[in-house]
Amino acid sequence: MSPRTVRLAAALAALLLAPAARAYVRSTSREGAPFYWQERKVGYQINPRRGPSAPSCSDASQYADTAAIEAVRAAFRTWTGAVQDCTDLELLDQGFTDVATVGFDPRAARNENLVIFREGWCSEVALPADACWDSGTCANTYDCFEDALPADRATIAITTVTHDAHSGRIYDADIELADWRGQLPAGSSLSPGGVSTQPPDGWYFTCTPAAQPPCSAYGQSGCTYVDLQSNATHEIGHFIGLAHPCTLGNSDCNPKTSVYRPLVMFPAATLGDVSKRTLTDDDRAGLCAIYPFGGATWTSPVKASGGGGCASGGGAGGLASALLALVALARRGRRR
C-alpha cells in the first residue's frame, strides 16, 4: 500500500472511530429546501403560566415553576454563541408573554416565537361538540394540548415551524409542551414499565439538577421522569433547523446500539435521561455549519465551500460514505 493510501486510510479510520462527527442532518421543506433563520438574532418568548407540578420545577416566586422556565432558557442558550464559540447565533430571551396562540399571522407586524406549557388535554376542557375541533383551534382557544383522539396523548412535545415553502426560510417557530396541570386523579400512577399512554392531563416534566432515580408517581420529588431541559434542548435543535441524524426503524438507528445515540438530535429519548442537555460535537457541527461564526448562513441545499460536507451534513450516510470510500481505496491499492 502506498504512503498516500496509508494516509487516506488513516484519515478514514479516524472518521470511523468518531462516527458521529458528521451525522447532523438539516431539516427541509417538502420541496427540499433546508430550514434556516435569516437573522442571526432570533428572539423567543415564554408564556410562563404554569401550575404547580413537579417539586423540582417549582420554587417560591412570582411564578410557581421558575425552575421550569430556567430549564427552557438554558436549553436555548446551549444552541447559541454564548456557549458554542463556532457560531454567533443568538437566541434572545425577549421575556414573558401572555400570548397563548401558536402559529403565524402573515398580516401581523410581529409574530412571537413561543414556548408554551399547555396545561392539560383539550379533550378535558372542550366539549365534543365544540366547534374548535372542526377548526383545529382548541389548543389556541383553551390553552390546552390538543388531543383530538386518545393516541394523541402519546405526544410529549410539538414544534410548529412556519417557513417559506420554496426557500426554507423560517418565519416563526413555536414549541408546545404537553404539561401536567398538577392534578392527579385517584389511583393514577406513572407505571414506568407499564403500558398506559393515557397520563393524567399531561406529562410529568421534571427539572432536577442532575439525574435522579426514575419517578414512580406524578408529583413525586427527588426523581427524574421527562427531563424538561433535555427535551427542550432537542426541540430547539429543530427550532434552528436541524433534523434527526437517522430514522428509527432503520438499521443504523437502533435506540440500543446506534452510534448516534449520544447526540441531542437522536430520535429517541429515555425517560429519566438528563444527558441531552449538552450538545455533542456533532450537534455543534450542525449548528455551526448552518450559522458559522462570522460567516454566511448556509441557505442552499448544497454547501458552497468550507467544511460540513454535502447538504445533508453527511447525514446518516456519513458513516456509510466513509466505509464505501475505504473499500474503494483498498481496491485501488490492490490493483497496484
Binding site: 442532518v25 438539516r26 431539516s27 427541509t28 421543506s29 417538502r30 401558536v102 402559529g103 399571522d105 379533550s123 365534543p128 375541533w133 383545529g136 383551534t137 389556541n140 383530538a148 383522539l149 393516541a151 394523541d152 405526544t155 412535545a157 410539538i158 414544534t159 410548529t160 412556519t162 417557513h163 417559506d164 415553502a165 403500558v195 399512554t197 406529562w203 421527562v226 427535551n231 432537542h234 429543530h238 433534523a243 434527526h244 428509527l248 426503524g249 435506540p255 430520535p267 429517541a268 429519548a269 429515555t270 425517560l271 441545499p301 447538504a311 445533508s312 451534513g313 453527511g314 447525514g315 450516510g317 456509510a320 460514505s321 466513509a322 466505509l323 464505501l324 470510500a325 474503494a328 481496491r331
Partner: protein, 170 residues
Amino acid sequence: MKPTAALLLASLLAGAPSAARAATFLETSVEETARTSETVVRGVVERVGSRWAGSRILTEVVVRVTSAWKGRPGERLTLLVPGGTVGDLAQEVDAAPTFEEGEEVVVFAGRRGHTYRVNGLALGKYRIEDGMATPGTAGARFAPRGLAAGERAVGRMSVVELEQRVRSAR
C-alpha cells in the same frame, strides 16, 4: 463506469437530506393505536387541500377506502390534519402526518366534532409501498417504554402483519 468509480459515486450519494419532523412521542403499540381508533382503513389519497384557520394551516385529506380493517367508514374518509402549504407559506407541525395525492395509506382515525382526525397524529398513518407499511414518524422522537406482551411498537412492517395486528387488537 469502472467499479471503483461506481463505489466512490455511491459513497457520495449515501447521505441524503430528510424532511423535518420534530415531535416527541412516548412509544406506542400498533394494537393500542388500533384499540383507541374508531376506524382503520387502507386506501388511496384522492385529494389534499390546505387552508388557513386563524394562525394555523390545516389540510383536508380525502382517502378513497379500498379496505376497512375496523369500523364502517364508507367509501371515502375525509381527514383534518394540522399543517400544510397555502401559497408561498408552509407550516410544518412535526407531530402531524403528511399525505400526497395518489399515495396508498393505512390510516387509524376517529371523529372529534364532525371531522375525522388521525389517531396519534404521525403514529396513525402508514405509507404502503412494495408490500411494506411505513409510519409517518420518520423524523419523530420516541421515549421507549414497556409495551404489553406480544404487541409491537409503531414502526415499519409488512402490510400483512399490520393488518393482522389491527384486526386482532382487543
